[in-house]
Symmetry: C2
Subunit: 238 residues, 2 copies
């Protein structure tokens, strides 16, 4: 699937509300995938929805149409066990600010969000499974997977990996000033945005790793603006 | 419902995986409610799950058993329209850090998360609806609702508010160091946590509000550790 393929080829991922915030370029999806630290996995269990936060990784060249989104969990996890062969929904949200208008009605948030819906696929091929687990580690800290020992057979057996095609997705983005009613602007009063950033702080070395150097990929992660802006990149705030 | 009432009175909100991270004190739920900036609303639409990020507010003394969680949206919103009378799931996650172990398997995140499941209720009583909308504004910026003009009849008619009882919930918390295999500790290498914080930056006044003073509740919000830690409270990082 090329980057010019439609982002929302079906009705269920077509944005209906706030269509002015909808994006239909796959590159906007890639931006959200890159910037979101975690995702929320939605499954239907016993007729009701269950939404669970979890780490993720993705491979735009993965075997699924449009690329592959990967989540993982214990083989005994309810949300993971319900995913293969069923429609699942993965939602990612990057919160960029509180939009503080002159009326409650026009209060909002600045955000970049993606919703991906599709049939979950259990990843059982060994190479893809290992690669997916490494991508999940590298999404948190780029380059870290290569510094770690190999997965053991026992670890791989205890972990399920689910792939979700990036075929059907919707992306919404809000940025900029509040949009107030003309009459409220005329009446005066402050209006604006309180920017929010998820920032990394100095690493805390584990008690059982005293004296070890903080590895370069962790230092880079702390300094990098990849995945989420860091305090070091000038987004320090006050 | 007292704070000593069980948090997970049913099987569907009983934590099965990572039970060592489960909390069963309602005060832990209140901590997550207080600290989370947004929630993810999960509904079942056309047989598949749909997970949408949205603002929320809550009233521990609300009319629902255990207190009331409120979300709102356009009356035309799909996720909001599907909520009344149906089981919905609201998930809130506060991400506190990346847990960087010596093996991929033990990589994790430090977080505080809550999952609330229950029957959505359309809030149509005028006082409760207005109060819920004010609580949603005040969850973003405490004290702001009282500074805004009243909701118009048209705004109220265009907005649906959904209440979810805080009766059935699960809370999971992970904090502290990675937990590595003994053999990996013996083999050495760094291990630790990269703390993450959602921080507020200096407010950006809207273009149409030039010259207006930043109101005290917005300044307080920027400085406050309520809802999420701010850079001003010493959690500045580097």
């Amino acid at each position: 699937m090329s980057t010019t393929a439609p982002l929302s080829p079906t009705a269920r991922t077509t944005v209906r509300r706030g269509a002015n915030r909808a994006r239909d370029d796959r590159r906007d999806l890639y931006d959200v995938l890159s910037a979101a630290a975690i995702c929320q996995l939605g499954v239907v269990v016993g007729g009701h929805p269950l939404v669970i936060p979890t780490a993720f990784g993705y491979d735009l060249d993965g075997p699924d149409d449009g690329g592959s989104l990967y989540v993982h969990g214990s083989v005994a996890s309810r949300s993971i066990a319900e995913s293969p062969g069923n429609d699942i929904c993965v939602s990612m949200t990057v919160l960029d600010g509180l939009v503080l208008a002159r009326s409650a009605f026009h209060h909002s948030m600045n955000y970049r969000s993606a919703v991906v819906i599709g049939r979950g696929r259990l990843v059982d091929e060994a190479c893809e499974k290992t690669r997916a687990l490494d991508l999940i580690v590298d999404h948190a800290v780029p380059g870290r997977a290569a510094t770690l020992r190999s997965h053991t057979r026992k670890e791989l057996a205890a972990t399920s990996v689910i792939a979700l095609p990036l075929t059907e997705a919707s992306v919404k983005v809000r940025s900029g000033d509040p949009v107030d009613e003309d009459v409220d602007v005329e009446n005066g009063g402050w209006s604006g945005v309180l920017p929010l950033r998820l920032v990394a702080q100095a690493p805390v070395t584990a008690a059982d790793a005293g004296g070890e150097e903080i590895p370069p990929e962790v230092q880079a992660r702390m300094r990098s603006s990849y995945a989420f802006p860091s305090v070091v990149d000038g987004s320090r705030g006050l």
